[in-house]
């Protein structure tokens, strides 16, 4: 099945000419795929086929339990983007809607091996010295969510203590209940602190430090 429109394929091929270094995309699905898993796999198969710098590995959430543990995958569909290491960048749910643009932004960022943030924000993030798990609860029709996911993924790339998950709530409605999500994007830091709305890099960095008591 072709997911991308021809005009988008052409744009991506041109855009990917500027990729500097290799990017590995790891997708977790399962043998009997749910429709979201299938769509996710198809999107990533098409995207990875547009540049030799992008490789794709597809694993089974049930059978490949060693890799599930290695990457800390908690649910499917899961997409992980890797450069010279696993930065902790995760998409739980289909990277569709506005999140597709985030996926492409992330691929370009990783190919540059540069999160592209200001020195001031990088300095603040350098104060993070213990594990931080940031989850961004989103809906794919929300333009502000994409900005929030992009920020959190940049943070994950900038500091190895930080992992950043996109969580598409329509695919994981129990998480909307668990975290009492009534509006998106909702950013949850280490399961305890949360903010609703997309924040500028510096403001979110301060929220992360606040969650750590810094």
């Amino acid at each position: 099945m072709v997911v991308l429109a021809e005009k988008d394929r052409e744009k991506l091929i041109k855009l990917f000419e500027s990729l500097l270094q290799d990017v590995k995309v790891v997708v977790f699905t399962q043998e009997f795929e749910c429709s979201f898993c299938q769509t996710t796999r198809e999107i990533l198969e098409e995207v990875s086929g547009l540049s030799q710098k992008i490789s794709l590995e597809i694993y089974d959430f049930v059978k490949d339990d060693v890799l599930v543990k290695k990457y800390g995958v908690s649910r499917i569909p899961a997409t992980i983007l890797i450069g010279d290491r696993d930065y902790g960048i995760r998409f739980y749910g289909t990277p569709a809607g506005y999140e597709f643009t985030t996926l492409i932004q992330d691929i370009i960022m990783i190919s540059r091996r540069d999160p592209g943030m200001s020195k001031e924000v990088l300095y603040e993030l350098s104060k993070v010295d213990q594990p931080v798990h940031i989850q961004v609860m989103i809906s794919p029709t929300c333009p502000y969510c994409a900005a929030a996911v992009g920020t959190v993924h940049r943070f994950a790339m900038a500091n190895d203590y930080i992992t950043g998950d996109m969580v598409e709530l329509a695919e994981f409605p129990h998480l909307a209940v668990k975290y009492n999500v009534q509006g998106v994007p909702k950013i949850i830091i280490n399961e305890k602190e949360s903010v609703t709305g997309a924040l500028p890099d510096m403001d979110l960095a301060k929220e992360v430090l606040k969650a750590l008591g810094k």
Binding site: F100, P143, G183, T196
Partner: protein, 329 residues
């Protein structure tokens, strides 16, 4: 649930040049909605030195699912139309400052200083002020505390969270009915509440909403308060005919009661009407020479994408004429 397909916004990926704080630009275009983007297209083609200062691109279009009244597009996803506008806008390689709010526009002799929230400034010989509008809150008890906890202003963002749930929609215009449509399609149970008698939405849109069974219409009712501890639980409404109050148990409250102009940055400078909109003439001129207004932030009637785009073009052309008259280019 059906996924919305992929949205590829190349303009969000392409790096944009940053404006220079020391340059006095021929024209500063403030805002990122259709008026501002159209102004950029017209100004850039004059080959003048210009810069854009905005929080983001798209404006209110970002919070709409579908557009059915923009010429040439019988029906287009709003996100796709924004992408088309953005790609056209940034194709001119103009410098853009994004993500930092404008706090004030000051007149300094023959130039304008645009102050930003981070304490920095940009300078221009002319300004096209096209900062649009923002959601008008209800200002009832409990609303502020429950924003993001059931009280919502962006149906495009939050509607998917209310699948199979009960919601109250406040408003009687096209935005309220479009929100109702988004939610009813998700099998939500909806109550639409309007302050005045009757409904302002287009008849065609009303008919589409009325086809759904799980929707109730209450005109001439007002919202008294919203209640809930960690999330919205109850909406208290008052029947303005009988004066009786009633409680509605609801998971969500979507507020679509109009908009407020983002005119604060020029309130000390330009003339405003009683709604806070910037007063402009048919050339988009304000009362301050060199300061032009365009789009929803102005007093131009009928807030529509196509009207804003036209006004933005007009403002840019008028500002260009002003620069020639003043021999500043």
């Amino acid at each position: 649930m059906e996924l919305p397909g992929v949205i590829l916004d190349i303009s969000s990926i392409s790096p944009l040049r940053k404006p220079d704080h020391d340059t006095v630009y021929d024209m500063l275009i403030l805002g990122g909605g259709p008026a501002a983007m159209s102004a950029v297209v017209y100004a850039a083609r004059k080959m003048i030195n210009l810069a854009v200062i905005t929080l983001d691109f798209g404006g209110q279009m970002n919070e709409t699912a579908e557009v059915e009244n923009y010429l040439g597009f019988p029906s287009i996803r709003a996100g796709d139309l924004v992408t088309k506008f953005k790609e056209h806008t940034i194709s001119f390689d103009i410098p853009v400052s994004m993500g930092i709010s404008i706090t004030e526009v000051k007149r300094k002799e023959n130039t304008f200083e645009v102050l930003l929230e981070d304490g920095t400034s940009f300078f221009g010989h002319t300004v096209v002020f096209a900062t649009g509008k923002r959601h008008r809150p209800l200002t009832v008890p409990g609303e502020k505390e429950l924003v993001g906890k059931g009280v919502a202003y962006c149906a495009t963002c939050d509607a998917p969270l209310y699948k199979d749930k009960k919601v109250v929609i406040v408003g009687g215009g096209n935005s309220a009915f479009t929100t109702a449509l988004d939610l009813l399609r998700l099998n939500a149970e909806a109550v639409v509440v309007n302050f005045i008698i009757g409904w302002q939405a287009d008849e065609a849109l009303q008919q589409r909403v009325r086809k759904f069974g799980k929707v109730q219409f209450l005109d001439y009712h007002e919202i008294v308060s919203v209640e809930g501890k960690d999330k919205l639980e109850t909406v208290v409404i008052r029947d303005r005919r009988a004066g009786e109050e009633k409680k509605i148990d609801a998971n969500g409250l979507f507020v679509e009661i109009g908009l407020l102009p983002n005119s604060d940055p020029v309130k000390k400078l330009a003339g405003l009407n009683k709604h806070g909109e910037v007063l402009v003439d048919c050339y988009c001129r304000t009362n301050i020479p060199g300061l032009f207004g365009a789009g929803d932030v102005t007093d131009v009637p009928h807030k529509q994408i196509i009207i804003s785009a036209g006004e933005g073009a007009k403002a840019a052309l008028s500002a260009y004429d002003y620069l020639i008259e003043k021999s500043q280019i």
